[in-house]
Amino acid sequence: MRPRPSGAQPLLSLQSLEKRVPGGRVLFEGLDLTLQSGEFVAIKGESGAGKSTLLNLIAGLDVADSGRIALNGTPFESLDEDARTILRRDKIGFVFQAFHVLPHLNLIQNVALPLVLQHVAAAEAERRAEDMLASVGLKGRGRDYPRQLSGGELQRVAIARALVHRPKLILADEPTGNLDPETAMRILELFSTEVRHSGAATLLVTHSDVAAKVADRTLILTRAGLVERRAD
């Protein structure tokens, strides 16, 4: 799926965002971004530039020092913490560098977690989780536990979990950072295919040029905000 035309209401809108770290150092200021549904954007930047912090702000896990964030037309400043939590639960999917798969739940339960948090019936949630696991190449492994899986397989589980509840926005923080190049490439292709198939918009934070290439466009995070990267 391709992004909607630019005239439609953006899925995500960041305006004049500013964030300082404790001690007062400015991470970024005057940051603007508009993301349409179905759009896949990679964000690169030096270590410490604030890429993960930016994702945390968009997820409502952190609060900007100034500026506005709106998701699906809902401005974050109008939401309290509980409302931001519910917005995150329903509209956003996450993929982390360190997988963060719960070791004491089996794969179906790990993937179904976002659904049961939305009060989907357990049987239905498990069925959809099994389908999602199948689509990321883990068919029949649903009753396995995370300790039985390799790093690449764990990241597949994390991708399945990020997509299973059909979120509007996927936030991915270095999803291949813990994987070898070959596995990383396979995971990237899978990730790209699945998120595009889901129709969700994606923000991918990465150091990797290879990873950034799967995106529709790449932005560089600087102190002055996001800068469009020139095509090579």
Binding site: D82, T85, H100, H104, L113, P114
Partner: protein
């Protein structure tokens, strides 16, 4: 969070780490079981005791009891029976008697016609020797079967028949009030409960045969239907003399209860201290579990779970641990109580309910109460971890995987200071309802304050070593970690610090008490031999016998005393009045006074009250009090003496022997007031060179037959030995409770340290990669364990000594009205120090070997 997600998270966690759940639940179960068992044993024994009292008292609506052993004038009966609202009144003579085989029974003298209407359960059923008793025989049927006023007829309860070994139709000789009388066993008492040794004779026969003409011990009343009970009480009270008092079923119940209340409450409280230790262990387990799961909780927050939902999840975990532990504890408590009652009786070493093996009673409300207490301990132990989960920042927790150690941060002193100050303030509060409830609140607060201060104290204690920068790598690493993560020390040690400090506190209190008792025994046992006549019924030594005994060869001197029970309140058991020679100019020579005796004002009679009597009745040195002493002595007794109004409390003395209180009066004053010259207690100083055994034999040879079987003669050292033996037995249960608490605490240290060590597998893997040897890591863990143990010992002993002061100066005086001087058990301190340091180091070593045995990569899923 949805129910499904919560269930998955809970079950997943417990499937992954069942051992921690079981230890936490067990620690609660042990506390609940001990508390519930002690409560059930006490309740069963008390119920049995109350049943015995009720049996003797029959079913009267109200009763008037004699305040002293002399009874009251029977003329009172005629006055009271005429009071409006009284339907009928039954006069009673009540005497403690003994049968030919020495078995004791309570003998009641009743007017069977009156008793049939007022206390029908006390009326005998006359039957022939070969007849079977009819259990529901009516009084009319009973009385119609023969002459109800037969002066020889004695009716015995089934238990009395059994213990005396007699059969219906046989004759029996009873000793009571210094007299012997023969009766014919005419029938049984079908209304008397099992296990009660009771006999009933005609009241006139009892008065005549036991030389009690004109005297009564009791009057039972039946009130008219619809009569105003309070109004009747007031009318009766208005005409009662000093030597009689009005009692009701409620006041009897209160008196029965007060006999052992403080002992029972203290045992319950000690058992609950084991539960408190359990609560600290739940805190340890939950803190560890939460710390290990920070990243998981952060992930759940990212996935859309609210802070509150995570807090609730941790609290639900605590609740489930508490519910499982409490349920198991109730079952275990029932089994423990049943076994204790069967094998040890209902006395639990306290000496209050000797001689019976009461049936176990189940107390559903108490069971519910202990279940709630178990849950509350587990939830309280989960509160701080739940708060930490709610406060954690998910973005940071995801990065740091829960490792929030910051060596630069200084542990806060605010919370420990608040808790310790609150605990200290509670220690100065008065008793509530005669019980040291706030004393125990003080102990709990001091414990919580001590545990909360652990991180700060760990820092302070390790500060000198931290600055030393040790050259040995393992020790240096261990110190750096302890220094950097003092809160981990608190989590690992809170259970053992709690249980150790309680054990130390108990040990200090018991040693202080024991030594004070020993010193007191040495003080009050200056003579060589002591003679005691057991039981009021045998009369004691009259003047001529006293002279005769004092003239026994080998006796240098004899001093005689009279010990009499007098009732000062219908709600409390009788106090002991001790008449002995007390030098008015130097009373401290006769009594172990707490402070100097006060000069006695003219026109008053001096008495010295014991600490328990002062505590129970609010007596103060220097004040005038009323005592219900019989006043039929010579004319020298003043009118004030006769109204009981002019007794002057000249001083307070230490008496560890009588918890219900005692009052000493000079022998001369006692004789002047009462005319009673018989004595039932004597001290013997042996002549130099005489043999104690020979003198004892000579003394016994001079005794009349009525006293021969009821006399105890003992040497001072024997009394001292037996007294200390009884002391040790009465504290045996408390030792057991504390030992269990310490074992639970040690199990907690093992579980916590193992979990902490296994959670550091990645750290060990990294250390191995950079060149630290396996042996060095083991050494580091040993050093950490030993350091933790040392911190635990220092804090545990310090806290224990502080808590012991609350036990010695607050709990004991408020419970038993006894004071004592502090003594410290240094041998125990050394033993505890060695044991705890060794246990901590050994646990660390074992956990370390296990952690180093596996792969460092797959660390997170290891269970201990």
């Amino acid at each position: 969070m949805s129910g499904v997600a919560a269930r998955w998270m809970l079950l997943g966690e417990w499937r992954a780490h069942p051992g921690r759940l079981i230890i936490a639940a067990l620690s609660i179960a042990v506390g609940v079981a001990l508390g519930f068992a002690v409560h059930l044993i006490n309740a069963s024994a008390l119920s049995e005791f109350a049943r015995a009292v009720k049996t003797v008292n029959g079913d009267a609506d109200l009763q008037v009891h004699a305040a002293g052993p002399e009874g009251f004038d029977e003329g009172l009966y005629a006055k009271l029976a005429r009071i409006e609202g009284v339907e009928d009144a039954s006069p009673v003579v009540e005497i403690e008697a003994s049968a030919e085989n020495g078995e004791a029974l309570t003998l009641l003298g009743l007017d069977v016609l009156r008793a049939g209407r007022v206390t029908p359960s006390l009326v005998g059923q006359r039957i022939q020797a070969d007849e079977k008793p009819v259990s529901d025989a009516s009084p009319t049927a009973a009385s119609s079967a023969g002459d109800p006023f037969d002066a020889n007829a004695l009716f015995l309860s089934a238990h009395a028949l059994e213990t005396t070994g007699k059969k219906i139709g046989e004759e029996i000789e009873l000793a009571a009030a210094g007299k012997l009388a023969r009766f014919s066993i005419a029938g049984v008492l079908p209304g008397v409960a099992e296990g009660q040794a009771l006999g009933v004779v005609d009241i006139a026969a009892a008065q005549w045969r036991f030389d009690m003409l004109g005297r009564l011990e009791r009057i039972d009343f039946k009130l008219e239907g619809g009569a105003d009970e309070n109004g009747v009480r007031e009318k009766i009270a208005a005409v009662l003399p000093e030597n009689a008092e009005l009692v009701s079923a409620e006041s009897e119940a209160r008196r029965t209860d007060s006999l052992s209340r403080a002992y029972r409450v203290n045992l319950d409280m000690l058992a609950l201290m084991a539960l408190l230790t359990g609560g600290f262990l739940v805190f340890s387990a939950q803190s560890l579990s939460v710390t290990r799961r920070y990243a998981q909780f952060a992930l759940l927050r990212v996935l859309g779970v609210k802070r509150r939902a995570l807090t609730i999840q941790v609290l639900i975990e605590g609740m489930i641990v508490g519910a499982a532990g409490s349920a198991a504890g109730l079952g275990l408590g029932l089994v423990l109580a049943d076994a204790s009652l069967k094998f040890l009786g209902g006395d639990l070493g306290g000496g209050y309910f000797l001689g019976e093996h009461p049936a176990l009673i189940f107390a559903p409300y108490s069971a519910f109460g202990f279940f709630v207490l178990g849950m509350a301990a587990a939830i309280a132990g989960s509160l701080l971890p739940a708060r930490d989960v709610a406060r954690a920042q998910p973005a940071i927790a995801l990065k740091n995987i829960g490792d929030s150690i910051d060596p630069r941060s200084t542990p806060s002193a605010r919370m420990p200071a608040v808790l310790v100050l609150a605990g200290t303030a509670a220690a100065f509060a008065p008793a509530l309802g005669g019980l040291p409830i706030l004393g125990y609140v003080s102990i709990a607060l001091l414990l919580a304050g001590g545990v909360a201060a652990m991180p700060l104290l760990a820092r302070l204690l390790l500060a000198p070593l931290q600055k030393a920068d040790l050259r040995a790598v393992p020790a240096n690493l261990a110190l750096k970690r302890m220094w950097g993560a003092p809160s981990q020390a608190a989590i690992a040690l809170c259970g053992i610090v709690a249980s150790t400090s309680l054990m130390i506190a108990m040990a200090v209190m018991v040693l202080s008490f024991r030594q004070s008792v020993d010193e007191w025994l040495l003080r009050i046992l200056p003579a060589d031999l002591y003679i005691r006549v057991e039981g009021e019924e045998v009369g004691g030594f009259d003047r001529s016998l006293q002279r005769d005994l004092a003239a026994t060869p080998g006796v240098a001197a004899m001093r005689f005393r009279k010990l009499t029970a007098i009732r000062l309140s219908p709600d409390l058991p009788p106090v002991t009045l001790i008449a002995e020679h007390i030098d008015a100019n130097n009373p401290a020579a006769s009594l172990p006074l707490i402070d100097a005796s006060k000069p006695v004002p003219a026109g008053t009679t001096a008495v010295w009250v014991s600490e328990p009597a002062a505590g129970l009745y609010g007596y103060r040195a220097g004040e005038r009090i009323r005592l219900p002493l019989p006043s039929h002595g010579d004319d020298k007794a003043t009118s004030a003496d006769k109204t009981g109004a002019s007794y002057f409390v000249a001083g307070i003395w230490r008496d560890y022997g009588r918890q219900q209180g005692s009052i000493a009066i000079d022998d001369g004053d006692y004789v002047r007031l009462t005319g009673d010259t018989a004595r039932n207690d004597a001290w013997v100083d042996l002549a130099p060179g005489s043999d104690a055994a020979t003198v004892v034999a000579a003394l016994r040879a001079r005794l009349p037959s009525r006293l021969a079987g009821r006399l105890t003669i003992a040497e001072a050292k024997e009394i001292r030995f037996r007294s200390l033996e009884i002391f040790d037995r009465s504290f045996a249960v408390t030792y057991l409770l504390e030992a269990i608490a310490v074992l639970v605490g040690l199990a907690g240290v093992g579980a916590t340290f193992s979990a902490q060590t296994l959670a550091r597998e990645k750290e060990f893997g990294m250390l191995r990669h950079i060149g630290v040897s396996r042996r060095q890591i083991i050494g580091m863990l040993l050093a950490e364990g030993a350091s933790l143990g040392t911190v635990g010992v220092v804090v545990g002993i310090g806290l224990g000594i502080a808590i012991s002061q609350v036990l010695i100066h607050v709990v004991n005086p408020q419970s038993f009205h006894w004071t004592m001087e502090t003594r410290l058990p240094f041998v125990l301190f050394a033993t505890v120090t060695a044991a705890l340091i060794a246990a901590s180091a050994a646990t660390a070593l074992l956990a370390g070997r296990r952690a180093l045995a596996g792969s460092a990569v797959r660390a997170v899923q290891e269970d201990w």
